[in-house]
Symmetry: C2
Subunit: 109 residues, 2 copies
Amino acid sequence: MGRDEILPGTLHLLILRTLVQRGELHGYEIAKAIERSSEDVLQVEEGSLYPALQRMLVKGWVKAHWGTTTENRRARYYRLTPLGRKQLHIEQAQFERVVNAIARVIHTA
Amino acid sequence: MGRDEILPGTLHLLILRTLVQRGELHGYEIAKAIERSSEDVLQVEEGSLYPALQRMLVKGWVKAHWGTTTENRRARYYRLTPLGRKQLHIEQAQFERVVNAIARVIHTA
DNA sequence: ACTCCATCCATAGATAATCTATGCATAGAT
DNA sequence: ATCTATGCATAGATTATCTATGGATGGAGT
């Protein structure tokens, strides 16, 4: 954890959660949404984001289609699949579990 | 985060914290201490632990010496250096910061 | 017209940290 | 005699990230 960007292994969760909250978004929007809602603590690099979205497409957690933004730009929109929604629940529970476990270790007297 | 062992990037923190709590420990004890104080949620694989301890030695966060356990076994004991104590504060603050940021993203309405 | 910035996508290669699998050794219990 | 827990360590694979790069374009400002 030498960086101050994201905790390795949490990017899928962040993306899934952002999509379930805001519906259909394109990549750039997803990144900005995560950064903003984290109050700019988390930085989502494009070199991390797009490979992550590829992985999620392959796993069937999201589907994508090309469209046009309000600013008249070409963009690829992603939306959650039912499988993605299931995965969100799994990853969120897992995250809480592990973070709580770490907290117990850290705060052990 | 497909595993249920440790959050990547948190092992140094867990080790540093365990050493500051319990003083001088050998590797095997460190692993068991983390597993127990996490109520067996976190699993510390030896293949992760020993390389991590090597990294921490190189960085000067811990010092090691060979000794004998209460069970009469040869073991390598680690203790925190002042630099390690400083690093603990850094990593702990960093961890809280990032986890809180993730929590904000996850719990955004 | 030109320039600049923000928006948008994507990949290659390097880096880092983990896991799996393996090897070695021995104390104590059965 | 054998088994289990204790103890150290490394090689190689895997995974996920970052850095660096490349390309394209809309709109704002000059």
